[in-house]
Symmetry: C2
Subunit: 357 residues, 2 copies
Amino acid sequence: MAYRIAVLPGDGIGTEVVPQAIRVLDKIAEKYGHQFEYKQGLIGGAAIDATGHPLPEETLGLCYNSDAVLLGAIGGPKWDNLPTHLRPEVGALLPLRKELGLYANIRPCRMYSALADASTLKKEVLEGTDMVVIRELTGGMYFGPKGRETVDGVERAWDTMLYSTPEIERIVRLAFEAARKRTRKEVCSVDKANVLEASRLWRETAIRVAADYPDVTLTHMYVDNAAMQLVRNPRQFDVVVTENTFGDILTDQASMLSASLGMLPSASIGGNVALYEPAHGSAPDIAGQKKANPLATILSAAMMLEYSFNLVTEARAIEDAVEKVLSKGFRTGDIMEAGKILVNTEEMTDRVLEELA
Amino acid sequence: MAYRIAVLPGDGIGTEVVPQAIRVLDKIAEKYGHQFEYKQGLIGGAAIDATGHPLPEETLGLCYNSDAVLLGAIGGPKWDNLPTHLRPEVGALLPLRKELGLYANIRPCRMYSALADASTLKKEVLEGTDMVVIRELTGGMYFGPKGRETVDGVERAWDTMLYSTPEIERIVRLAFEAARKRTRKEVCSVDKANVLEASRLWRETAIRVAADYPDVTLTHMYVDNAAMQLVRNPRQFDVVVTENTFGDILTDQASMLSASLGMLPSASIGGNVALYEPAHGSAPDIAGQKKANPLATILSAAMMLEYSFNLVTEARAIEDAVEKVLSKGFRTGDIMEAGKILVNTEEMTDRVLEELA
Ligand SMILES: [Mg+2]
Ligand SMILES: [Mg+2]
């Protein structure tokens, strides 16, 4: 079967790591007899430079007409001072997710035992951590009404955290479905229901939805406590579900459990065409130096095989290859430790390809 | 000189730890020849049970007519299902801060070397951490316009993150003043200026204020990255300043650097009468069992001596006593480790009093 993949490298290290994931997909195609058709599109700063807009119509059309989208990373200091609607994150990533109806971001956070020493947390605290954070992506403060005005000579600015019951229900339901497939079957819903009205609606909705999933345990946690518990005892979490801004903060924090953002894949789902991208950004500070860790993008491609194409064996083969490469001691700079072998972006991929051979 | 202290034990372990701080203050009074006059007031659930309101007028009057306020903790499951305006946090703590004009929360986060092993972070990551987080307290989403409505049969709820330039300027200025008194003289302003309008006004204002402090270095960090950096490399921070919700999350997260919330004092300042309280909550799960760590409240009393009464020698004496007690191996349950001596709430205070003798 042929799968059409929209490939959007974007900016900075995005242009370095995406080709590495394609090398891995090509190896999978060869080994398992699949056909992947890649069509490349412009997004972010690269698209601004070429077309004047961070998310050109052509790119959006390409995504709609694909079976899945593989994205690198977008943005960089060059485009930081453009008007808001043209900036890469606001002008491309947020509308892309919205246009594709991708209301859920899924970030697995599993501890690789070979990397346990590379984290700033103690090994015994991390050991056994295997959680998934599900973040609402298209609602909340990033999309709610916002503005700036001068009243009686005083300037003020605001953003609105706005959620409707259906928006909350679909993401909470997705979390329950995910939990049902896991061993522990636990959902921890994170909110700030003691002070926020939107959080109270969130919590009420979660409690109502829970009635449909008697096999899953629902707990609630305030977001400030969750930020604390992620450092104190990450093992306590199975599936975490939360709104957009809180999820933005908690997923980045949780990423530190895995030693580096360079290790973390993500999937954004909800519509017909899902989006797969590494959790890291465009990292302008190391761009063009072959230092980027390609594993997050390679593991994102594995998530694509599993979630969008249902190629579970192939996905596991990639994940196992990554685990073996790490066990053999190969490390990019972001996860380097004494006694390990430092490799660059391409060399890391070479090692993964060897394991897949 | 006589100092009038409003004492508000509140709920749960608040009623256990506040008397311990008073024992320490009494010892200081005796040793250094001061006079502390305590007047007790009701707040939180205890006030609801007695008067029907979590912040009675009488308590507010007591605070206005004092030189400083020492608060324990408020809230508990018993009062969780009351209407919003009567709940302890929304009905008492938030309005108390607002009424007293306490727009800044100050949380020092210093690593006690005796406790370095008790943290979930590696000792070498924590070593040398000495930061202060300054959180805006009276603006943002917790106080902005909020509500719930049904539009075309769909229920929705919202909260507004609203900031005016003067609100931002005074807290940022306070951060620069604090940084100026420190060795590194660095302010890291945390926002989400890539997507939030309120954050953009925050950042512009910080940059403008910075011009008045050429001796202080200003940097900016997105809140999701800050949550990550606090785990990755906490030593990088000197003074952190941020808005209310982000500060709520980051201060609780930062508290984990110090092994336990039970160690962390806080001060809320800005008006004529400042408020001192431990960073921890009412901890209903351990209330009434003499397990609570009194050190956060004792250290809050030390902050009161320093900030409100300018009794710096006395404040240092308390801090030194706490450090010695920890070095000698005494621990409450929250910071207990193998090989240390477990003590209860009163016994921990006894050890502090011995050091002050
Ligand atoms: Mg983020
Ligand atoms: Mg908090």
